[in-house]
Symmetry: C2
Subunit: 186 residues, 2 copies
Amino acid sequence: NVAHGLAWSFYLGYLRLVLPRLEDSITSFHADHKASSPRWGRGSRKLLILIPLDSKVSHKIEDEDDNIHFYDNLPNNEIDRAGVRGRVYKHSVYRVRGEHGKAHLCVVEYATPLLTLYNMSHESSAGFGEPERRQQVLLFYRTLRDILENSLQCRNRYKLILLNDEREDDPHFLSKVILRHLLQQE
Amino acid sequence: NVAHGLAWSFYLGYLRLVLPRLEDSITSFHADHKASSPRWGRGSRKLLILIPLDSKVSHKIEDEDDNIHFYDNLPNNEIDRAGVRGRVYKHSVYRVRGEHGKAHLCVVEYATPLLTLYNMSHESSAGFGEPERRQQVLLFYRTLRDILENSLQCRNRYKLILLNDEREDDPHFLSKVILRHLLQQE
Ligand SMILES: Nc1nc(=O)c2ncn([C@@H]3O[C@@H]4COP(=O)(O)O[C@H]5[C@@H](O)[C@H](n6cnc7c(N)ncnc76)O[C@@H]5COP(=O)(O)O[C@@H]3[C@@H]4O)c2[nH]1
């Protein structure tokens, strides 16, 4: 089951490495941006991980919703990995505006392995197609959720946001979902 | 089958992005290092991908064999991916000395997904153990080899090097294997 392995890979090869360092990255970022930054609520000191059920991942989140703007990147983390000296791990910070006009900063990205699921479903030799893909996304989400719930290193450092397909009609669907999750924490 | 998904992920999320740019990266690197660099043979303009059958990946290749030294990194490639702005992709260049004393430069790294296989085999909830792991490495290798052989964008840009377990006894096993593959091309 492809999704099972991708969830483990995402945890073992990425989240387990970066989530423990996230708090420090945000603190030093906030120190460098004191004068200009909008509020950093308590909810926004976590990595928000977007999991769209249709696997359609955007490379630039601001293209999805004009209430979302790229703000800056967190400082780079350099880790020697499998022969690559100083492999760079980083996250992007976005400014998300609510319907009431108030803006919040947050660290958000799509779950990268969904790109693999999406692309595999279009490669005939990869062995699965669009009908199975939605099941694989759900399996990815549940497996990842269970792994993270049992991970002491990652506790309270992330939030998984499962995105349903009805997002097509509302141009501000994504910013509303993100804000709802951010404000839930405070 | 975990290895099948990891091979596709490695191709779709990495090799397909970086291999077409490798030639240009090496050319600009060579221009910047003209005065000091040892020979860049024809065989070394490919990414050498190490696949150890026992899944035991080292983070610093020079730790494996004292005839291998880290030389420098190729220039960074920055690509917007899944909400991460300017995600960095790079490779490390190593200087490999032969038994006759002559040194060659090459771009080499371990296949990172093997780290996932290794770590999963030690996580009880991940669903497979050490006995199945070797089979998974072979499946990873064969799947990757077939995908790459059918990829027009990646043709002639890589070399898969399957490493057998008998490497424990010879302290210069790895450098000899790498040089044999490099010189095969010229
Ligand atoms: N958002 C995000 N930022 C990152 O820096 C990052 N690094 C990894 N991942 C995701 O975590 C998981 C485990 O990564 P691993 O390194 O074992 O496999 C990686 C690795 O073998 C290879 N690869 C990708 N990027 C690089 C890179 N920069 N250098 C070397 N290898 C890389 O190709 C595989 C698939 O990559 P992605 O499909 O981008 O998603 C990965 C994967 O789902 C990331 N996700």
